[in-house]
Structures are given as C-alpha cells and as structure tokens.
Subunit: 242 residues, 3 copies
C-alpha cells in the first residue's frame, strides 16, 4: 500500500498528476490519500503528524511524503525505513521524527535523477517512481546510496504546539502520553480531559487522546479552533495536578 502525505491540497491537480505516475510504475498497488493538507510549507508540523499517523498502517506500507518548500534547491531526496515502514521524500526534517522514534532506522540518499525532472514538482518526477518501485517489492538499490543519517533532523520528542486543525475545528497537538488528570492549555484557554465528544456538554471544550495517540483539543458539536482562536503553531502547556 502507498500512502500519500503532502501539502498539495485536495483541490489542485498535483495529487492526480502524482497518482497517474504511480499508476504507470506500480499499477497493481493500492494508493490511499492519507493527508494532503499538511500545513503549507511546514515540514516541522508535518514530521510530527507523519510520525503519529504512520503507526496505524501495516508493515511494508510506503509513505510518499512531500512537504517541500525547498524543491529545486540542493536539499537531498531520501528513503527512510523505520519501524518496518518505508518513507520517501525530501531531506528537510519531514522524515526525521518518525526516523528517530525507531531504533532500527535506515536511510538512503536518492542518487538517481529522472530524464525529465521539473524544477518544482519532484513529488511526481522523482519521489513517485522511487516509492512505486519500493511498493511493488523492487527495491531500487542502483538508484540509492546508503547514508548514516539524515541531513536535517528535528527534535523527536513531543512538540508542545498545535500541529493541525481539522475541518470540525479540532486542534491536534504534538503531545503524547499526558496523564488524564492533567489540564492542557492553549490560546489562554484551559481544557480538562474528556473520554469522547458525547461525554461533555454541547459547546464545552475538553482534551482527549485522539485515534493516533495525540492530545487533541475539541468542543462537543462545535469548533475549538473558532471558539478559542486556536491555530497551527500555538504553544500548548500541560498542567499536572499538585
């Protein structure tokens, strides 16, 4: 299975162009749109989202991950194997959090270049063919060079910020493993733990551990983002009981 993880947006032709290239190179593979609305130009938030989301998928899944504001500059292109799953994308930190969270991580630099390569669309021209080969079990050794580590590495600990706001207005944070009796604050608002939406009053805010293991700030039948002015990048604080 190939999972697409980008900031290409859902309404533009970029995803379709990339999928057509995947279909040429790996016609029998399932391709699933995981997320195309990673915050634009933000590999840092993307790295934490990717690390949290990837856990949910089968071993040998291939993540084609492109949040690449430096496309066309000399940043490297890489393949990462971490926790039994494959990640193909730019070496700008995007793959570094999931890489650092596994002990057995291996990294390859993509040395191959396609005959025709757009200066602005490596997702289609460079990353998609490599991801397709890996997905169909034809590891392209001749196109890769093993390297010791990524060139750009983010801190792989929890990120105490809002890293995503979904269409309901729920705000994902980069925090894991917060005790249930803690309170969490952001944008001047303090949230207590709730089990799920139906357990708090309508319009009431709460935090919960979401389906990928991250602390999420929400409002029952309302938008936490709109109600409290939460936005990607906002710092988040954890208040432990005395």
């Amino acid at each position: 299975m190939i999972l697409l993880f980008t900031d290409f947006g859902v309404r533009d032709p970029y995803v379709g162009q990339m999928k057509a290239r995947l279909a040429e190179h790996a016609p029998a593979q399932q391709v699933v749109d995981l997320l195309h609305e990673v915050p634009d130009f933000n590999p840092h938030a993307g790295a934490h989202l990717l690390a949290a989301l990837a856990r949910d998928f089968p071993l040998d899944s291939v993540f084609l991950a492109v949040v690449d504001p430096g496309v066309g500059t000399p940043r490297d292109a890489v393949v990462v194997l971490a926790g039994g799953r494959w990640f193909v994308g730019p070496d700008n930190g995007l793959l570094s959090v999931v890489g650092a969270r596994h002990a057995d991580t291996r990294v390859w630099r993509i040395t191959w270049r396609p005959e025709r390569q757009s200066a602005t669309f490596h997702g289609r021209d460079l990353f998609a063919p490599i991801a397709a080969e890996i997905a169909r079990g034809a590891f392209p050794s001749a196109k890769l060079t093993p390297v010791d580590k990524l060139a750009v590495e983010f801190d792989s600990g929890d990120l105490p910020r809002v890293i995503y706001a979904d269409h309901y207005g729920n705000a994902w944070t980069g925090l894991r493993a917060v005790p249930q009796n803690a309170r969490v604050s952001a944008a001047g608002q303090v949230f207590s733990h709730g089990e799920s939406f139906g357990f708090v009053g309508k319009g009431e805010g709460f935090w919960f551990v979401n389906s990928v293991g991250l602390v999420e700030l929400a409002v029952n039948r309302g938008s936490a983002a709109a109600t409290f002015g939460l936005a990607v990048g906002d710092p988040v604080h954890v208040h432990l009981p005395n």
Copy 2:
C-alpha cells in the same frame, strides 16, 4: 462496491485512515467516496441525503455511513439491509430513513468489538471491518445480532428543509415529487420550475428535480446559497396552483 458517506470532510486524514483499514480487510473491493461533507453533526440531514443518493447504486452495494456525534457513548452500532443494499453505521437515525422507505428492511446490532477501539473513531475501528466483510461476501453473523428495529427512527416522509448546499451554491431540499407547476419558496424567495440551468436566464433562480430525485434550488451560472442566503436547515414551502 463500498460507498463512503460521512461528515469526515475531504481535507482531513480520517478518510484515508478508514480506507487503509478497508484495504486490509477487503483488498479486492472498489471503494468510492460518495460524500464526506454531510453537514457536520447532522444525522437528520444525512439520513435524507443517504436515502436519496442510495437509489442510484447497484444492488449489494455497501454504504459505510458515519455521521456520529455520539461516538463513544452507548448508542448502538448497526447493519441495515434495505432495498437490496447494505448500510453500516451508528444507530442514531442516520440509517432510519432509507430503512423505513423499503418494505423488506432487516436490522442487526453489531455486538462484536475490535481488540483496539479508539473512543472517537469507530468509523475506522468498528464500522470499516464490518463493512469490508459484508462487501467481500462474508456476512459476519457471529458479530451481529438480529433486532426488530432501529433504536432511533426519524420521520421517513419528505423533509421540507434545505439539507445540503453544494459548492456551486445549489441548495438541495428533502422534498420529492413536487408537481412542475408548483412554486417552491425558501428564505423569503419564490422559485418556479425550470428544466435545467441553460433554460433560465443568467443569474435567474429556479427549482428542478435533481439527479437523485430531490427538489433543488439553483441559479443559472450563479450561487443560490449566496444570492438568497440559503443555508442547511432553512424551511422550504411548496405552493400549489389554485
């Protein structure tokens, strides 16, 4: 064929997470995104949309229908067989209109629970595996208990309200079978019947029976929602000629 019908939105990772689960459990099945923008937290509008849309699909289609603001609370999870098509989702009314509109409807409660079940994402953890088993022809009798009826049932007659506004600004109503010489009003505006967009003047409003059999309010080359301030939930009236 598995049809997805949710309020998960098109830009968030929830649809992809659910599809990956479907691909694990039913890799050979076609999965089609029917609608992911059911009005948020609104099983009532969703129930009427689903009943209208479902008619268009082949017998034995499986609809994975999740509009589930009560996720995590003790509401039931159910399978409905109605008119030869399958529906899997929460027992909160969402499946009740399509159920009531067929004489041969059967209902099962889902008694199985997955080993790992998120409190907030039953679409992925509970409903998707059941829908996948039904779609590949392996009816999961051991995971279901036949019941007489749904716990929550909405009125299955026409719903005289706006139930959906599309991206053009066309407003779908929950009305069927309105005579062509009737006028329809909403938001203080009166609409006469038109056959299709090209038959009324540019910028002119009209109503027509849309491709799923519902009365729809529209403007030729414009947005009825923006022009007349139409929104989901607005009451709609039918004016028959004397």
Copy 3:
C-alpha cells in the same frame, strides 16, 4: 487509465456518483481524479488547462472532461481523439484547444442516449458510460457518428490570462514558451523569472515555467493570489527586453 477533469468540486457527491457509474461499466480500469476545481462554468479556462495537463499522461488515456453550464440544452456531446489520447465531454469549446493543437485530431458526436438521463447530470448518465467503453478498449462505434469538426472552437493559441489559482495562491496563466529574460505582469505587478521557489527571497514574487509547461506567477512561501490580488480571468502581459 481514466482521468477525471471537471468543475464538480471535491466536496460534493457528484464525483462519487460518476465514479460508481464508471466502476459498473469498466471495473478493471484505474480512475484518477485529475482536477475537479476547474473554474466553475468556465469552459474557456478549462480548455487551456486540459490542453496543458493532458501532455503528461500516457497514450490511450481517456479524459472524462465535464465543465458544462449548458447541460440539458441542445449542445452536442462529443468524443475527441487528439495526440493519441481520448477526450469525452460537451461540445462547448472545452475539448477544442487540445483538439486544435494536434494535427491528427478526430471527432465523433455521441448519438446514443441512455435509457434514463437526468437533465442536469450528463457526466454520470451520458459521458461516463462512453468513456468507460473507450477505456476498456471497446470503442462504441454504434453510439457515435464521425464529424468533421467541433461545433464550438476556441482560439488555440496562448491565452494571456490567469486561468487557475491553486491552494497555495500560485496563479497559472495560459502562456507557454516565454523567454527567461522576459518579465510578466498581471494585476499591476511585474514578475521576473525564477527557477524555483527556493531561489527567490521569502515573500518575493517571480514567474516560472510550471510542471505542465505554463507560465505561473508565485511567491516563495506565500500566496501570489492574496499578495497581489490575482484572480482567474486577469489579463497577463509579457515584456520582452529591448
């Protein structure tokens, strides 16, 4: 491979309804969403987008292209074979630019009508079944009549206007083959050439030849559309050096 190219939007049920019909008629074919946000009711911009995008896809690809504000009126439905790729859609100019740019173009009028045809959704009822038959190699001669040319033809030269604005705020123009030392202006702003995003300063505007060969106006890590007030339809001028 079937490529979908429409103004149906990404959030409405129309794409899913059309895909389900394709799955019935050509279950083994890959279907890829290329673009569903062609500017609404704008076959002119659509014609130039389609001509530019189509080059990227394999021979024998089938484009199901529907931007059809005149649906239900007597405009014709057509099949175009141009440059070894197939195009199915309304005869309103949408297919005329890609048709005129190839010397070997052939045109057929669709004379077949489905048993049940909605007045407003020929994408599902009329175009999808024809596209499906062509895609699976069963050219439906009995449903088509060869004709000499399209009824509606747009100028097939470059279109000096903004024809698309993507979610980053990058503005695509209908211009090809502008020399790198030229400057390009739109909305009162003058842009110089840049190779890619990472080569200009943060927030700086530039033009580049995008991944489908069109001149595109952009801002590094920002929105050209928002910064300069660019919108679809804006005239674009090329300033050659003396």
